[in-house]
Amino acid sequence: MSILNRTRTPKRAAKGLAESNPGRKLLGSKFATITVWTIAALWTIPTLGIFTTSFRDKKDIVTNGWWNIFIHPHLTLANYHAVFFGDGQSGLTNGVLPYFINSLVITIPAVLFPITIATMAAYCLSWVKFRGSDFIFFFIFALQIVPIQMSLIPLLQLFTGGVHLGTVTLIPKLGIAGKFAGIWLPHTMFALPLAIYLLHNFISSLPRDLMEAAHVDGASHFTVFRRIVLPLSVPAIAAFSIFQFLWVWNDLLVALSFSAGTEGIEPVNAKLAGLVGTWGSHWEYLTAGAFVTIAVPLIVFFSLQRYFVRGLLAGSVK
């Protein structure tokens, strides 16, 4: 009961803040507004460049700058046509849609799995105190720097051959190379260090009295995790989900290495990268490709964004 009260009050307060709070106006909301819109405009220039370029044919792209589209509009959908249906005889005979589905099938579990596992680990490292928990936390932080490229070969060997110590088989071969599971697992592994680090920062700042009160009431760690930590961590989980979604969605390296030549599981990004042709001659398609693939992450961003304004992070008051 007390939890609910704590979390809801700030939300209401935050909503009325922009209008009612004189303190925030003091710094000059006009200055803030102008600065933000200036930066937003500067930030949009390259984005706009990609967008306009995607509607131009290659002859125009290479002979005059993309801003000329506003002076001499000469638009074509050829790049989009190539991205959706292939150009002539290219590999996209069934269109781009099946690869979108592959991307979704790869991305959704590759976001859900690491975040669940990371939230559990972050809770354990911040609230189930044991000897060495700090050490483990810093060790996991340091693992962020291990280059993914170095992990590709050992992981593939694990999937196809298992792990052996001499003649003793420690782990049998998993046989998931070329299957979706063979892509989910590496994404999960590579996401964990950053996910645990970010979520730990958040979860460790949840109010101590809440946890202690729950334990006094006889709640186990599992109950505390499910009833208190998980609901309170929604904003942090939402924030990290967006980024993990983006990384997996735009990833090429893991997709190329672990789809192991299986056409049926190739994500849209990897497929579109192939459209440019063997010698990269049709790089102009990539601008259209960038806008076709951006749609899904933007939907995710917009739908998760509302969690940021909720003020649920009230927990960080100590």
Binding site: P10, G23, W43, G65, F113, F138, V146, S220, F225
Partner: protein
């Protein structure tokens, strides 16, 4: 269309099944383990909460990290031990000195600028209307796959001979301002800073979103109280808002440091590491995947690892401090 669904529904089914199994197993474990009480409760909880992450990390990252460490003392095909030869080469080769210098430049400049910019944006966004539109525009570069974005950045920095068509944005602006443009990408050390601009363009959205979430969390009553006390904007920021988001600021900064160290696609697509712009991670990629020298590539990975140690130590210090306060 029906053939489309018959080909694709099984995939979706596979995904749903995987998620369902994952959640069911988790739920079952929680249910059973939740029954345990007494002395065993804590070890069981630790095993269940931390176990999966540690197992995955051991096979996914720790194993490869150890392998990389060993490979860094071997030759290009990892067939012979060569002692410290690869490290010696990194620190004595004249081209590598430039690479190390650039890596340090990137490391010092970009995380700070990106995080500071993200913080300013987050604060300003907090006090304006139509926040979500501005936020989305600044966030957009993060969502665009860099393969597509690199094409436009090439057109931003492009410089063509005066006899050829002009497609470079920067050159055109400079020319309209009455100056004569140079070949930006060739001009050292300017070119490294121009590449940093791209990094900041991509990553500022990340810093902004995370810091914005933290600022929203600063309880309104605290802010209001300080406003009633007559605290001015800057003072209020320094004494109330920043201390509240300090730990998040450090987390974002640390994440940016790690992202900077791992960065290679900006350098690779814009210059291929030429013209004195290469960084360690780009060279590492080239050694392993273009020149097939696993020894040198692994040694570079270890050097990168060592470079992240200062920020790791700072994090340890910071966390200890927070714990002692709490």
């Amino acid at each position: 269309m029906s053939s489309f669904w018959s080909a694709n529904l099984p995939k979706i089914g596979q995904m749903i099944a995987a998620i369902a199994i994952f959640l069911a197993v988790l739920g079952a474990i929680f249910f059973i383990a939740g029954r345990a009480n007494g002395k065993k409760q804590k070890p069981i909880a630790i095993t269940i909460f931390l176990g999966p992450a540690l197992v995955l990390l051991t096979f996914g990252l720790v194993g490869p990290a150890i392998k990389t460490f060993l490979f860094s003392f071997k030759n290009s095909y990892s067939t012979k031990w060569v002692g410290f030869r690869n490290y010696q080469w990194i620190f004595t080769d004249p081209d590598m000195r430039i690479v190390l210098r650039n890596t340090i430049l990137w490391l010092v400049i970009t995380p700070l600028i990106t995080t500071a910019l993200g913080l300013i944006l987050a604060i300003f966004l907090d006090r304006m209307r139509r926040e979500s539109i501005a936020k989305s525009l600044i966030f957009m570069p993060m969502a665009i796959s860099f393969v597509g974005a690199s094409i436009v950045w090439q057109f931003v920095y492009n410089f063509a001979d005066p006899s050829q068509p002009q497609t470079g944005l920067l050159s055109t602006i400079v020319r309209h301002l009455g100056f004569s443009p140079t070949n930006w990408i060739l001009t050292q050390p300017l070119n490294t800073f121009l590449l940093m601009v791209i990094f900041i363009w991509v990553q500022a959205g990340f810093a902004m979103v995370i810091l914005s979430a933290a600022i929203k969390a600063v309880p309104a009553d605290i802010v209001e109280a300080s406003a009633l006390d007559g605290a001015s904007g800057w003072k209020q920021f320094r004494s109330v808002t920043f201390p509240m988001v300090r730990s998040t600021f450090i987390v974002v900064l640390a994440t940016m440091v790690v992202t900077t160290l791992k960065l290679f696609d900006i350098v690779r697509t814009m210059t291929g590491g030429n013209f004195g712009t290469s960084v360690l991670s780009n060279e590492m990629y080239s050694e392993v995947f273009v020149r097939f020298d696993t020894g040198r590539g692994s040694a570079m990975a270890i050097v990168l690892f060592v470079m992240v140690l200062p920020i790791l130590i700072y994090n340890i210090y910071n966390l200890r401090r927070e714990r002692s306060i709490a």
